[in-house]
C-alpha cells in the first residue's frame, strides 16, 4: 500500500470511529469532543487531496466556531451532561426512514458523478479562485446563506431577549405576597 492510501484509510478509520462515538456516547460533552475529532479528520482528508485552503477553512469554521458554540451551549445548560439524560427519542421508525433516504441520495449522487481526473497541475493558491467564484458565479447562494445566518442570529437574540424580559417581570418560584395579607400581617 502506498503512503496516500495508508493515510487515507487511517483518516477514514479515525473519522468513522469518531462519528460512531458521537452518536453512541452517553455524555453529550463527549459527543461534542468526538465531533471535533471527526471534523478535524475531514480536514485531514482535504489536506490529502491537496486542498489546504479548504482544510484550514474547515478547521477555522467547524472546529473554531461551530463546535465551540456547541460546547458553549452544552456548558450553559444545567445538568445536560448527566448520564441519566436520554439522547434518543421514540421516533426510531421515522429516524430510520429519513437517514436511509439521506443515504440513498448520497449514494445516488456519488454514483452519478463522473469524477473526472484532470492532468492539469494543482492551481497555486486555490483561495483566490474560490473567492472570485463566490463573488461572481455563486453570489446568489452565498448571499442567501448570509441572510439565513443573519435570520438565525436575530432569532437567537429574540429568544434570549424574551427570557430576559420575563425574568425581570416575574421572577420564577417566588410568588409575591398579596397586598391584603400584608395589611393583615
Amino acid at each position: 500500500m502506498d503512503t496516500f492510501s495508508l493515510a487515507f484509510y487511517a483518516l477514514a478509520f479515525l473519522i468513522i470511529a469518531a462519528a460512531i462515538f458521537v452518536v453512541t456516547s452517553k455524555n453529550i460533552f463527549h459527543s461534542a469532543i468526538y465531533l471535533i475529532l471527526a471534523l478535524f479528520g475531514v480536514a485531514g482528508i482535504y489536506v490529502l487531496l491537496q486542498a489546504p485552503f479548504l482544510a484550514a477553512a474547515q478547521v477555522l469554521i467547524y472546529v473554531g466556531a461551530v463546535s465551540m458554540l456547541m460546547i458553549f451551549a452544552i456548558m450553559l445548560t444545567a445538568r445536560i451532561a448527566d448520564d441519566s439524560i436520554r439522547h434518543t427519542n421514540e421516533q426510531v421508525g421515522t429516524g430510520l426512514l429519513v437517514s436511509l433516504g439521506l443515504l440513498a441520495v448520497i449514494v445516488y449522487s456519488l454514483w452519478q458523478t463522473p469524477f473526472p481526473i484532470s492532468a492539469a497541475p494543482m492551481p497555486e493558491g486555490a483561495g483566490g479562485t474560490i473567492g472570485r467564484l463566490l463573488l461572481t458565479q455563486f453570489v446568489l447562494p452565498f448571499e442567501i446563506v448570509s441572510v439565513l445566518l443573519l435570520g438565525a442570529l436575530i432569532g437567537a437574540v429574540v429568544i434570549a431577549q424574551k427570557d430576559k424580559v420575563r425574568g425581570v417581570s416575574e421572577p420564577p418560584n417566588t410568588p409575591l405576597p398579596k397586598p391584603a395579607e400584608k395589611v393583615a400581617g
Binding site: 503512503t3 455524555n27 460533552f29 472546529v63 473554531g64 465551540m68 460546547i71 456548558m75
Partner: protein, 347 residues
C-alpha cells in the same frame, strides 16, 4: 554572516543521503526530516519559554519596584530551570470527580496546538519548517484548538471555578477571533498571498513594512491577540482574584506545566505573527536574519508584558461589548479603507 540557512540545508541533505543509503524511499526522508525539525522546534520552544518565564518575572518585578528572582544564578537566570525541575517531580493529582479522559487530554490538546503553529513561522532566512501557501490561515485555524483544550479542562475538572474560567475563555476567544482574523485580512489584501515566507519577502525595506499601510489593522490585531492569549487586561478566564486559577485550578505538576508552557508559547506566537505581518519579519541590516526576528518578536512580547503589568482587568460585560461594538466595526472600517486604498492606487 552567521546565517543558519546553510546549516539547515546541510543537515537536511545529510538526512536525505543517510536515509537513501539505507535503501528507504523519499517518503521516509521527508518523515525523518520532519521529525528532526519537530524536535528542533520543541527544544527551541522550551528554551524560549524558560527565558520568557524568567523575563516576565523580572519585568513584573521592575514594574513594581522589586528585584524579582535573584538567588539562583546571575540575576536569577536559572530560577526557571529550578522551578521546572520542581514541577517535574511533583505528584500528578487527579481529583476523584473529574471526567478522566477529557481531564487527561485537555493539557495535551492545548500544548500541541500551541506548538503546531510553529510549523509556518519564518524564524529567519531559510528557517521555516514548511512554507505552506495557506500559512497565516493555518495559524489562525490551529490556534482555535487551544481554546478547545481550555474548554475541555474547564468542563472536565468538575469545579465551579474551572467551569467559569472555561465559559469566559470560550466567550472571549470566539469574540476576539473575529476582529483578529479581519485585521489579518487587511494585510492579506495588500500581500495577495497567505504564505508567511512571501509576506516576509515583500517587506525587505524599512518603508515596505505593512505597519505603515495598516496601522489601524495592527492596533486591532494587537488588542485582539492580547485577548486571545488570555493576558491582562483580558485575563478573565483565569482571574486569580475571583476564580482561584480558572480552568487550571484542578491541575498539578506536569499537566499544569503544559498549560503554562502553552500560555507562554502563545504569547511568543502572537508577537512572531505580528513581526511577520507588520514589521518585516526577519528582514534587517547587519545582524543575521534570525537575530532580527528574535529582536522584533521579543520586543512584541515585552509590549504584551507591559500591558499586563500596567492595566487593570476588564469586567466581563465590558470585554464583550468592547469586542462586538467597538473592535469589530473598526475592523470592518479598516477593510473598507484598505480596499479603497488598493482601488485608488492601482488605477
Amino acid at each position: 554572516m552567521l546565517e543558519l540557512d546553510k546549516l539547515v540545508k546541510i543537515i537536511g541533505d545529510g538526512i536525505d543521503a543517510g536515509i537513501s543509503a539505507l535503501g528507504l524511499g523519499p517518503a521516509w526522508v521527508v518523515l525523518v526530516q520532519l521529525i528532526v525539525a519537530a524536535a528542533v522546534v520543541l527544544i527551541f520552544a522550551s528554551l524560549v519559554v524558560l527565558f520568557l518565564v524568567w523575563w516576565e518575572r523580572k519585568v513584573s518585578a521592575r514594574f513594581q519596584m522589586r528585584l524579582g528572582p535573584m538567588r539562583v544564578g546571575w540575576q536569577g537566570t536559572i530560577q526557571t530551570i529550578a522551578d521546572a525541575l520542581k514541577l517535574l517531580q511533583k505528584e500528578l493529582i487527579t481529583p476523584a470527580n473529574v471526567d478522566r479522559g477529557i481531564y487527561f487530554w485537555a493539557p495535551v490538546v492545548t500544548f500541541v496546538a500551541a506548538l503546531a503553529v510553529y510549523v509556518t513561522i519564518p524564524f529567519g532566512k531559510g528557517l521555516i519548517v514548511r512554507d505552506l501557501n495557506i500559512g497565516i490561515l493555518y495559524i489562525l485555524s490551529i490556534t482555535t484548538f487551544t481554546v478547545i483544550g481550555l474548554l475541555m479542562a474547564g468542563w472536565s475538572s468538575n469545579n465551579k471555578y474551572a467551569l467559569l474560567g472555561g465559559f469566559r475563555s470560550a466567550a472571549q476567544v470566539v469574540s476576539y477571533e473575529v476582529p483578529m482574523a479581519l485585521a489579518v485580512v487587511g494585510v492579506i489584501m495588500l500581500t495577495q498571498t497567505l504564505s508567511m515566507g512571501e509576506i516576509v519577502a515583500q517587506q525587505q525595506k524599512f518603508y515596505q513594512w505593512y505597519i505603515w499601510r495598516q496601522p489601524l489593522g495592527f492596533l486591532i490585531y494587537l488588542v485582539a491577540a492580547t485577548a486571545e492569549c488570555n493576558r491582562t487586561p483580558f485575563d478573565l478566564p483565569e482571574a486569580d482574584s475571583e476564580l482561584v486559577a480558572g480552568f487550571v485550578t484542578e491541575y498539578s505538576g506536569m499537566k499544569f506545566a503544559m498549560f503554562f508552557l502553552a500560555e507562554f508559547l502563545n504569547m511568543f506566537t502572537v508577537a512572531a505573527v505580528a513581526t511577520t505581518l507588520f514589521f518585516g519579519g526577519w528582514n534587517g541590516p547587519v545582524l543575521p536574519s534570525w537575530a532580527w526576528f528574535m529582536i522584533k518578536t521579543l520586543l512584541g512580547v515585552f509590549v504584551l508584558m507591559w500591558f499586563r503589568w500596567t492595566y487593570p482587568r476588564l469586567r466581563v460585560d465590558q470585554l464583550m461589548s468592547f469586542a462586538w461594538k467597538f473592535l469589530l466595526p473598526l475592523a470592518f472600517i479598516n477593510i473598507v479603507l484598505t480596499g479603497l486604498g488598493i482601488y485608488i492606487f492601482k488605477s
